[in-house]
Structures are given as C-alpha cells and as structure tokens.
C-alpha cells in the first residue's frame, strides 16, 4: 500500500456512472456505501485499486467501483486476484464474493488463497442463499432449509465461513453486518491495514429470496443479547445489561456465564485477536448455533507476522538475480553441451 501525500479522494471519486442493478432494499447497497467511504481514507492512489469478483449478485460489485475492476467467472476470483498480486504486489487488490461463489464453486481457490496468505482483502457477502439464480440453498444455508431446490428441506450441513477461513490458517478473519455501518467501516479499515490475506464475512440480507436471514442479530431488541463484539484486549462480554460473558472451561471448551455470584470480568476470556495460533479464534467461531451462545462479530484473528505470498515469490526472484545477475538470453540458449558445425 502506498502512503504518499495525495490530493484527498472522496467517496464520489469511487462511484461509477453505471446504474446499480441490485434489487431495491438489497444489503449490497450498504456494503457498497461502506467500501466507497472507506477507500478514500486508505491513502492509496485510485489507479492502484483493483476490485476482482466472481459470479453472483455480490460479484457485480466492481462495476460500481470507479477503480480498476475485473468481473471474472464463477468461483475463480481468488485465482485471478492471486495472478494480479504475484505480478504486481504493489496493487491494492480487493475481492467481492458471495457464499456460493467463495464456498461452493470456488471453495478450493478460497482456502488456497488464504493458506498462501496472498495480500487480498476478501469481502464475502453471506446471505445464505443463491440470489442471482433465484433462490436455491447455498453452502451456508441452514440444515433443513426449504428453498426452491430443497422443497422438503436441505439435507446439507452448512459451512461456517469464519471457521473455514480460520481452518485454512487465514491470518485475518473478521465478521461484520451490512447494516452495522460504523462497525463495517471499522472492520474494512482493519482489513485494509492487514498486509496478508484479510477475510471479512459480511452478513447480508437478501430481501427477495431470504429476507430476514439475520434478523435475530440485527433487530434492535435482540441485537445485544445475540451478538458479541470481539475487541482486542477486552473481555468477552455481551447482553443488554452487559452482564454475560464467555469463560474458558477446564476441559478447553467455552461456556456462557452470568456475571455476579463470584464471577467477575477478570474470569472471562480476554480477547486476543493477535494470537499467533489459529486454534483460539477457531473456538470462538464455533459459538453460533450453540444454545445460549451469541454470534461474534469483529476481529477473530488479525495476526500479521506471516509474510505475504507475493512478497515471498518476488523476493526469491530478486535474490536469485542478486546472486547470479540478471539472466542473459545468449547464455541460456547456449546452456549445457554445445557443439559447432562448420
């Protein structure tokens, strides 16, 4: 990321003249607005941004960002973006993808991008449904969910995208929500500041095919009971009265406790998003779906000590050039045993 002094960019500089073609009321609008307001603050020249996507509603994203943009094919955005980053590590590459694009058809590329730690910022719009193909279940749809392709309920068990990313040893894993604008922007800024792969799951509402997918988390009354915000160096506390917390049990598991009766904040887990090992973040990612547990948002993991893939690759090239000098074509062609014919 370049940080030279620039004429200040504004949100408007990142808007295109293309008519936005998402359904009215789609959560994608909020994500677009957040990204357009964060990009000018990153100190990156506009021409150095590249937004890459695959296929799906979310993947129309590049058309609405006035940067370099590549709307590729289904599932393959991580590979396209990896090619860009290897060839040009100085570019600021962001990727827009969805639960189908990143976890079904493109699942393989997603995990390999993350384990390599390619410096790509991944925005996974998770609406737990296939929108563009009009309403089939996705890899994040709930077990037994009734959709167009599962009239008797889905037999699939869903992926938890955060667990998957942590399982692939991603160095930055976060979760935010489309309508939590302030939280989303902070999360995007944290992702931008991360050098390696940054994976952000954004819970997003598809008001046409899966309306209310996240209402248990987003409704004002329910929010504080069902969501826990992960903050570095702060205890894991949630609840309307901020009287509940997460405790580490002797067997290694976690449990929800109510403060009081001898249990204080000091007994709760102190969140450490910079932990070098992924196991702690993985444990946190498994709160969802457990009775009584809240859904965590914020930074599960932000450990930036691993070199970026594109830097390792290019550094190797530079080292060899330093050791051997720049390649000489004549020498290459005449390598090995040669002989003269007169």
């Amino acid at each position: 990321m370049t940080t030279t002094a620039l004429p200040p960019l504004t949100r408007k500089d990142f808007q295109t003249d293309q008519e936005v073609r998402w359904c009215p009321g789609c959560g994608d609008y909020a994500i677009l607005a957040a990204v357009q307001s964060v990009f000018p603050e990153l100190g990156v020249k506009r021409e150095n941004f590249v937004v890459v996507s695959g296929i799906g509603c979310s993947s129309r994203f590049p058309y609405y960002m006035n940067t370099f943009g590549f709307h590729s094919i289904h599932g393959r955005a991580p590979a396209v973006a990896t090619g860009i980053k290897i060839a040009h590590p100085e570019l600021e590459v962001w990727m827009a993808t969805g639960d189908g694009d990143a976890l079904a058809i493109g699942g393989n590329h997603t995990i390999h991008m993350l384990r390599r730690n390619v410096g790509i910022k991944v925005l996974l719009f998770n609406n737990r449904i296939y929108g563009l193909t009009k309403g089939q279940y996705s890899p994040t749809s709930e077990f037994h969910k009734v959709t167009k392709s599962t009239p008797y309920g889905s037999p699939d068990r869903p992926f938890n995208p955060v667990s998957l990313a942590i399982g692939a040893e991603a160095t930055f894993v976060a979760r935010s929500v489309d309508i939590f604008q302030a939280h989303l922007k902070e999360t995007l800024k944290a992702a931008a500041a991360h050098k390696g792969s940054a994976f952000v799951e954004i819970l997003q509402n598809c008001n046409i095919f899966n309306d209310g997918a996240w209402t248990s988390l987003t409704e004002k009354d329910a929010r504080s009971e069902h969501v826990i915000q992960l903050e570095h160096n702060k205890p894991l506390i949630f609840g309307k009265n901020r009287n509940k917390g997460i405790l580490r049990k002797p067997d290694g598991d976690i449990e929800v406790v109510t403060l009081g009766n001898g249990i204080t904040e000091a007994d709760l887990i102190m969140h450490n998003s910079h932990h070098p090992r992924a196991s702690y973040a993985f444990l946190l990612s498994h709160m969802e779906g457990r009775p009584g547990f809240p859904t965590p948002i914020g930074l599960f993991r932000a450990w930036d000590d691993l070199p970026r893939y594109e830097d390792v690759v290019n550094e190797q090239v530079n080292q060899i050039i330093q050791q051997k000098g720049p390649g000489d074509l004549n020498k290459l062609l005449r390598g090995g045993d040669v002989w003269e014919v007169k």
């Binding site: 506009r46 940067t67 943009g69 094919i73 990896t82 040009h88 590329h109 005449r334 045993d337």
Partner: protein, 615 residues
C-alpha cells in the same frame, strides 16, 4: 577415447537406430539420453523416442513396467526415430518380449542374461527361455551377465548389492559406446556433475561404464564395431534440445524481446510438467512461476497476470485443457493476451498419459461455449517449439487474444540437434501499454489489428471495468442489446481472422503440383517429410504441406489443395484436420489415422501414399 584395437573390424555406416529397453527402475531413460547427448555432441543428426509407462514403478520385471528409449542417429538428415531398430539392449525378458518385434533381421541384441531365470520368465509371462529355444536365431544375440560383471567391476568400492546393480545400465552404455566408437567423456562429465555430492556413486557409475567398454575390447564379443560420421548440418552452434525445454526457452525469449515479465500459472500434468520445472529455474530472468491448486486456478491466475501487464502463459495437457475451457472463454471476452500450451497425450479422460496423440485439435478450435474463436498454432519438431512459443506470444500480444499452442508427448520428450540462434537473431516482440487517459475507451480498437488497448492497473486515469459479461462496443460497459451482441461476436471472430494478414503463405515441399499432396500438422512432420522424400526419390509426384498456423489457416491453403490429384491428411487422431479442410475448402481429402499412442512409421505412410495414388 581410443579407437578399439585388436582383431575387430570397424565399419563405416550412414545411420543406426538403437533402443534401450528395460524395467522402469533400470534407468533406461538416462541411458538413452546419455547416448543421445554423446552422439549429438559428435555431430550426428538425431531423433529420439522415449517411451515409458504411466506407472512410476509397475511391478518389476513385468510387461507393463517396460520402459524404452529409441534413438536414430545418422550422418545424413534424420526425420524420425526410425521404424525398426538395428541394435536392441534388453535388460530382462519383459523388455525383450515387448521390443523384439522391432529388431531388424540380423540386428544386434544385447541381453542381460542374469535376468533370464525361471522367476524372471514367469513375471514376463514367457513360457520358454528365448535365450535357449532358438527363437532369436535370426538376430546377432549377445547374452551378457550384466549383473555379475557389474558387481565384479565394483567389488572394491564396498557398495551394497542393490547400489551396485543400479549401475548395470552404465555397463550396457559403455558397451554401446564401444560398439559405435563413441567417447565416454561427455557421460563422464555428466556423472561427475550429477553425483558431485556423492563421489562414491560417481565412481561406481564411471567404473561400470568403463568396465562395459573394456569388456567389449577384451572379449572381442562383437567382432565388429561401427562408425557413423558427423552429419552435414547447417553451420552454427548446436545443442540437443527437447520440446518442453524449447518451449520454456521460447517463452523466456519472448518475454525478453517484449520487455515483459513472464508469468506461468500451471498445475502438474504429464507430459507438460517439465515446462513448469524448466521455467521455475529461470528466476534470474524475472520469471514468475505459480504452481496453482488446480488447472482452473492455473489459467485464471495467468489471466490476472495478463490483465496486469505480464506475458502470461499456462501449460497443460488434454484433461487440463478440458478444465480450462471456461476460463479461455473469459480471456476471449476480456480480450487479454495469454498463451495456453496443450502438450497433447492419448485420451479421452486420463487416457494414455505418457503416450502421444494429436487429438485435441478440434478441442482447441471449438472447445468452448458459444462463439469463441481462438488462434491455434502447432509445433512440428522439438526445436520448433522454441519458435512457435515466440510466434504464439507475438500473436497474443499484438492482437490481444488468447492463443492455443499445441505440442504433444512425442515432441515434449523427444530431442533433436537444435541450431542455437543468437539473441540478436530473434525478432523483437513489440508491446504497447495504453497510457493516455484522454478519450480512453477500453474497447476502442486498432483499425488494423482490431486489438483493444492494454490498459493495466496502476495507470492513472485509465480505471475501468472488464469481465465476462457481453461488452458494449468501444466503451466496454455491460450490454445486453441484441445487435450489439451480434456485432461483438463478429468483431471477436474478425479479430482472429485479421491475423491471417500476418501469416506467410505456405509452400509445399517437393512437387508444387502433381499426384498427391500430403497435408500434416504438429509432430507428424518428421515422419511425413521422411516418407515424402523417400517416395519422391522413387519418382512420385508428391508435395508436402505442413501447417503451423491452424487457425486462421494461411491464405493460400485452398489454392495449394487444388493443385494435386489427391489429398491425404495423415494424423494421430480420427481425422480432425481432415474434417477442417473438407469443411472449409470442400476438398475430397482422405485421411490416414492412427490412434495407438505412437507416432507414424515412415513405412506405413509410404504404403498409404501408394494406395491413394493407386499404385
């Protein structure tokens, strides 16, 4: 090395074909390539045919485990590895069984007699011992106790039996060097280099080879040795080169000549992996190699690299091509320059991974959804792979198109002497990046080439979006209008057609008109050229048209086809170029089709020529 003394006779001959055959673990590929290197350095023209099983180690001593390496070396011009062999080295009964049918009558047969025990015969499903049952009477058979003699030669080194036995191929190699009067020096240099970290093994292999050589000298086993004088090749500096090495170097040259970084996205697959191996060594040229998680990531990473301004390539074989199909369509739509190398092998599906075939032509032509024409080129010889890599890169970069380059297993692993060009002899590959934001439109076209501008990320003022959705002409914006779509489909086709202006007309070799035109493409070049030459020497009126550019075809192909009474298209497939020529030119051409995972023999071509000409 000295000329053998004693009572043995030395005969000068023009040409010989030798084949080394043994178990996969017997080191036959190394033995063959060492012999090749030595005779090439001496100045013979050569053609090689390595033939090995798909299994890394099939059960030892069995027929499926047989690995072979054939070499044709000559003082004259060599077109093919040869139809039949003059000398066969067989390390075990299975190798003998598989290969004996190709040995000429009175040919030399060196067998490792130590491996003709009861159990060895059983593993090869041989019921009677061929060394005892007179079935080899028509050959000059030399049973040699390769194992015992090698062990005896290495006795002083203190190696275990297994390590000693591994050197027996070099004993056989030493015998062959004696038989053909060749110096052991190049192989000694190779051994010293190869085993520089293990001097004991270096010593063992050298000792074994010298022992084989001395064995011939001392026992006068052969009574005769041969000499094949150097060939009269075009003056210049030569090296021995395989097709895959040539491709790798060709792309490095294209990158150097265009001033671009070379990016290879690849997933290992036989027989293409050696290109990845080669290019991953060339880091001092700034080459970026990416071993992707799969074939699709291999090509899409290349598309990303091309989008950001690299000379981007991907290398694969047929099954990988099938997986890359959708991404090739993306490169067509986004009009980005990549080169897709398909090192063809026997198919369909996994097919015959280590055997050659040229049956991906129609896949290269049409294997995508909708109308997605692409330039297609094919290399004709191992050395030609270098020049085709340059030509494919030139076309891709000039016309902003993906290009498919076809090679095959035979070219990939086969080797020939290659006249090395100087860097200055290699033509420049001009490239222009768009820089000017004034009136910039991502799909505005060059009037001559119809290419769109290459506007790479990082260029101020050129921010724009591309993708797989249909584009509005000029602006490149998403557009679904019916007439725009038809216009863009025709535009992409016209762009590929425009390349024809840039391709030289083709001239048939041999008779410019006459009884028969033989049309070939790809690796059948050598065998067809050899067969045409032989037939013309018999007075037949034959022309040979070999096509490098398969899409678009050179402008005068239709005219050439009309100048002959008959047109024959020999191919290692069911008739794919034949189909294209018949469809495009309404010519009543016929095919000669072989789908056995093996190249044509000159003999079968000549027979077919005669049949078609009604002789």
């Amino acid at each position: 090395m000295d000329i053998p003394s004693g009572k043995t006779k030395r005969e000068v001959i023009e040409q010989a074909v030798i084949r080394f055959a043994g178990d996969s673990g017997d080191g036959m590929q190394i033995t063959g390539s060492q012999f090749t290197n030595t005779v090439a350095l001496y100045g013979n023209d050569i053609a090689t045919f390595p033939d090995y099983p798909a299994e890394i180690r099939a059960p030892a001593g069995t027929v499926p485990g047989v690995s072979g390496f054939q070499l044709n070396f000559s003082s004259g011009e060599v077109f093919t590895p040869g139809d039949s062999v003059d000398a066969l080295v067989a390390m075990n009964p299975a190798a003998l069984k598989v290969n004996i049918g190709d040995l000429k009558a009175n040919g030399i047969l060196i067998v490792n007699s130590d491996s003709f025990e009861e159990t060895d015969l059983r593993k090869a499903h041989v019921t009677s011992n061929p060394l005892e049952d007179n079935s080899l009477d028509k050959f000059r058979v030399f049973p040699v106790e390769l194992q015992k003699l090698t062990r005896a030669a290495l006795a002083s080194l203190g190696l275990d039996a297994k390590s000693m036995d591994r050197c027996k191929n070099f004993f056989a190699l030493g015998m062959c060097y004696w038989l053909y009067n060749r110096s052991m020096d190049p192989t000694i240099r190779w051994i010293d280099d190869k085993f520089s970290k293990n001097p004991l093994l270096a010593e063992a292999n050298k000792l074994a080879m010298r022992a084989g050589y001395s064995y011939c000298e001392a026992t006068e086993a052969f009574q005769i040795s041969y000499e094949i004088p150097p060939a009269q090749l075009t003056p210049g500096t030569y090296r021995n080169l395989s097709g895959n090495q040539a491709l790798a170097m060709g792309f490095v040259a294209a990158a150097q000549k265009s001033g671009l970084k070379l990016f290879l996205g690849s997933y290992p697959i036989t027989p293409a992996s050696d290109i990845l191996h080669e290019l991953s060594k060339y880091k001092s040229f700034g080459v970026l190699t990416f071993q992707a998680e799969d074939e699709i990531a291999a090509i899409t990473s290349a598309i990303g690299a091309a989008y950001s301004g690299s000379l981007a390539i991907t290398t694969t074989s047929g099954p990988g091509m099938a997986l890359k199909t959708e991404a090739i369509g993306l490169a067509v739509m986004t009009e980005l320059p990549i080169v897709v190398c398909d090192i063809q092998r026997g198919g369909p599906s996994t097919g015959l991974p280590t055997k050659t075939e040229q049956a991906d032509l129609l896949q290269a032509m049409f294997g995508r959804n909708s109308e997605a024409p692409i330039p297609v080129l094919a290399a004709s010889t191992p050395g030609d792979c270098f020049w085709v890599a340059l030509e494919a890169s030139r076309i891709a970069l000039k016309y902003m198109v993906p290009v498919i380059l076809l090679s095959d297993g035979y070219l990939a692993n086969g080797a020939e002497p290659w006249r090395i060009p100087t860097a200055e002899e290699i033509p420049a590959v001009p490239v222009k990046f768009e820089k000017n934001p004034e009136g910039f439109q991502p799909y505005r076209r060059d009037p001559e080439t119809l290419a769109r501008p290459w506007a790479i990320p990082g260029t101020p003022g050129l921010e724009h979006r591309i993708g797989g959705i249909e584009k509005q002409e000029t602006t490149g914006n998403v557009n679904y209008e019916p007439l725009n779509h038809e216009k863009m489909v025709r535009m992409r086709a016209a762009k590929v057609e425009a390349i024809r202006q840039d391709i030289p007309n083709v001239m048939p070799v041999g008779d410019p008109e006459g009884d028969l035109l033989v049309v070939s493409w790809g690796s059948t070049f050598g065998s067809v050229a050899g067969a045409v030459k032989a037939q013309r020497e018999k007075g037949r009126k034959i022309g040979h048209l070999h096509l490098r550019h398969l899409n678009p075809l050179p402008g005068n192909v239709g005219d050439v086809l009309k100048r002959y009474r008959k047109v024959l298209v020999p191919e290692l497939n069911m008739g794919q170029l034949l189909w294209m020529l018949r469809a495009k030119y309404l010519v009543d051409a016929v095919g000669l089709n072989k789908i056995q995972g093996r190249p044509f023999k000159q003999n079968e071509l000549e027979q077919k020529f005669e049949e078609v000409m009604g002789l």
